[in-house]
Symmetry: none
Subunit: 425 residues, 2 copies
């Protein structure tokens, strides 16, 4: 309690997940990490996380404890339609509230099911229940609404356990509300994300080491994800403009040091960057993939901007597959003894011509014999464009699953470089 | 406390992770899940998990609270050599103990570094400190030893945050010790997971409602993930055989009620189930996907068993794409005015014939004009097999991203049903 009183002007937020599957280890509590990241970015204090099972008494007890020591409690999970979804009841018990029923939300639920041409099982009406005085937080991605309620001097939020639904409510409802409550709505935490590819995290950290040690506002952080290293600059200030003013000089210095390693900033993922370069050239893209088995096509089509320039793809589980587009080059391989690199180039060319695209990219493995674990990481990429073709061989880390992820990322970067007007490198 | 006294013969174990990186969401607390799995497998009760930052006062407070309500506390993290590794101090403060120093372990640390031909930074000697009365748990995989100490009537274990080191100690030291203490070495918790597809979670829960209310051992739980509803039966008994004996009758009743909705059990995912049915028929599979954009091929090739029967796939971002395999059916569509369902069937047939597979599956959208958000969920599936072809139209929930996920799951299930000898439905 001391801690709490002491910093009354900055809210202390606690996270409590409800779900036996978390205690049994059948699900990892990644929601808590997601929430932690967002609270940190918003500059809200966050000292405790807890997990309790689908047990009414223990859940109610955990909620009471959280209410005692924090100004706001974010509950996740237990809002579904089944009997083991007990968060609403636990909230009533902990706060000494009665359960009410929202005809209005019940109507929305029925309409939602009707829109899918199905009749709603009555049990779903549990989701229209809420502790007296709670405000329902709409759930655009699912059926279970979130809840917001004030108990004593504590704000309690109950969010669904489904990550995408939870994130949506957190970003658009909970965090803005808490910033407002903390009277720091004006104060902002602004970040710039610089995205790099082509060097290891330790190498990037080395190049920026002294900046990392010196920087307090903005702070520097490194985030690594399947081959891409992100450098995050985070400034706290009275306004976005002021924060940007603090970030800009440091960003210039970092860009000077990392140069072409940086391919995009903030929301400019490699997909978005590649789309922009394809627009510039007026080119379209086709894929031919073996070891990534559709992961590359999947990433391309998940990005609206990029999918516009995508003519389609060929997935063949094995290099020697006689799948469409591969008879020719593989025949060549056999007859004319093409090197693995040459047949990768042929795959890329075939994909482009058969799918009527300007640019073709191929992701493959040298030979089937190399599909052994030891060699799983050796991947051959080829890009065919109106300006010519080139192949690249990379040794990618990790097991088969990670290699798939690294390989599809690498393929997008290699295409982006081949399509770029600047670096022909 | 009541709960605790009530079941004195079965130990209640609590997990407390120490680490600010967890609160900031820079690290996901997968250790808690690892520990939870092991405690469940050992049949030890586990009702609470908590996370606290590298703050001495709050860590000590969290340890005291855990001691109050549990018979054993497993701490992870905060045992390293740096100033922010505060678990040892927090333990002393919570238990009112003084800190001691182990010359013997200090010697082992020095030897370890010497063996690597390096001189040990003095800061590492922090790792030779321990609360008075604690037993050091050797760490074969790292430098920080674990700790075991009895405080009042609670056993406390402090383990490193590094997963591999933590697991080693848990499996060989902590769990065996706790089973011994509980006098129940040999007791087990055994689960059976029944996997369903085709009905909503609320509908499945309705069909099993009375069973859910009645069942105490085994207990029933529902888990939902992109269209699949899992029913988990968990029994506690003296042996696996006995647990299975408790589960079997309930499972039979559930199978009677859910019938063909159940497609697999335990590790039998839909991919594994489909692979088994393809083996039985000696058939191979090819895909043609528009709105799933490679997600279906990706899921198939991610599963070793299933990828063996996969001849490849065609990805075309638009139904009207002139990509390989679609000229013909789309020409038909234009000339002979095929219905959306008929052209989906043509896509499936084309995929099978062009990729030399026995079975072809197509996932598409009725018309481009329907690519509007409202209609995003309306998906047409077609399966072509040696026994004929059929199309199915489903309205799937959520945004485009979720529709992709639901659609690739649905495609696998529709193929599995078409390939099954039993249900021709």
């Amino acid at each position: 309690m001391q801690a709490r009183r002491a910093r009354a002007q900055n809210l202390i937020v606690e996270v409590l997940a409800v779900g036996t599957e978390l205690l049994l280890g059948q699900t990892v509590n990644s929601n808590a990490a997601e929430i932690g990241r967002r609270l940190a970015a918003a500059g809200l204090d966050h000292f405790h996380q807890a997990v309790v099972g689908d047990n009414l008494a223990r859940a109610a007890d955990a909620i009471s404890r959280a209410m005692d020591r924090s100004d706001a409690v974010v509950l996740t999970g237990g809002l579904g339609p089944t009997q083991d979804d007990i968060t609403r009841e636990a909230l009533c018990r902990a706060a000494g509230l009665t359960m009410e029923f929202s005809d209005e939300y019940a109507g929305r639920l029925r309409a939602r099911w009707a829109a899918r041409g199905r009749e709603m099982p009555e049990s779903n009406l549990r989701q229209a229940q809420h502790p007296a005085g709670a405000v329902l937080i709409p759930n655009p991605r699912g059926t279970a609404p979130g809840l917001r309620i004030r108990v004593g001097d504590t704000w309690i939020f109950a969010l669904p356990g489904v990550t995408s639904e939870m994130q949506e409510m957190l970003d658009h409802q909970v965090v803005p509300f808490l910033l407002d409550e903390s009277g720091r709505a004006g104060a902002v935490v602004h970040s710039r994300l610089l995205r790099t590819w082509g060097e290891s995290e330790s190498r990037v950290a080395e190049l920026l080491g002294d900046l990392f040690d010196r920087s307090e506002n903005p702070t520097l952080a490194f985030l690594a994800s399947v081959g891409e290293i992100k450098v995050r600059l985070t400034a706290r200030a009275a306004s976005v403009e002021e924060a940007v003013g603090l970030i800009d000089p440091l960003e210039r210095e970092i860009r000077k040091r990392l140069g072409p390693l940086i391919f995009g900033a903030d929301a400019q993922t490699i997909e978005v960057t590649l789309a922009a370069r394809l627009v510039e050239r007026g080119w379209t893209l086709a894929t031919a993939e073996s070891i990534t088995g559709g992961a590359l096509a999947n990433r391309i089509t998940e990005t609206t901007e990029l999918s516009r320039f995508y003519r389609g793809g060929l997935v063949t589980p094995e290099v020697r597959s006689n799948g469409i587009g591969f008879e020719l080059p593989l025949a060549e391989t056999a007859e004319r003894r093409l090197s693995p690199e040459e047949s990768a180039v042929a795959m890329a060319r075939e994909a482009a011509s058969r799918l009527f695209a300007d640019v073709g990219v191929a992701v493959t493995r040298a030979e089937e014999s190399e599909s052994s674990r030891r060699e799983a990481g050796r991947v051959i990429f080829a890009v065919h464009s109106p300006e010519g073709a080139r192949s690249t061989t990379l040794i990618l880390p990790g097991d088969a699953e990670r290699v798939r992820a690294y390989a599809s990322t690498a393929a997008l970067h290699l295409v982006a470089r081949a399509v770029s007007r600047e670096s022909r490198a």
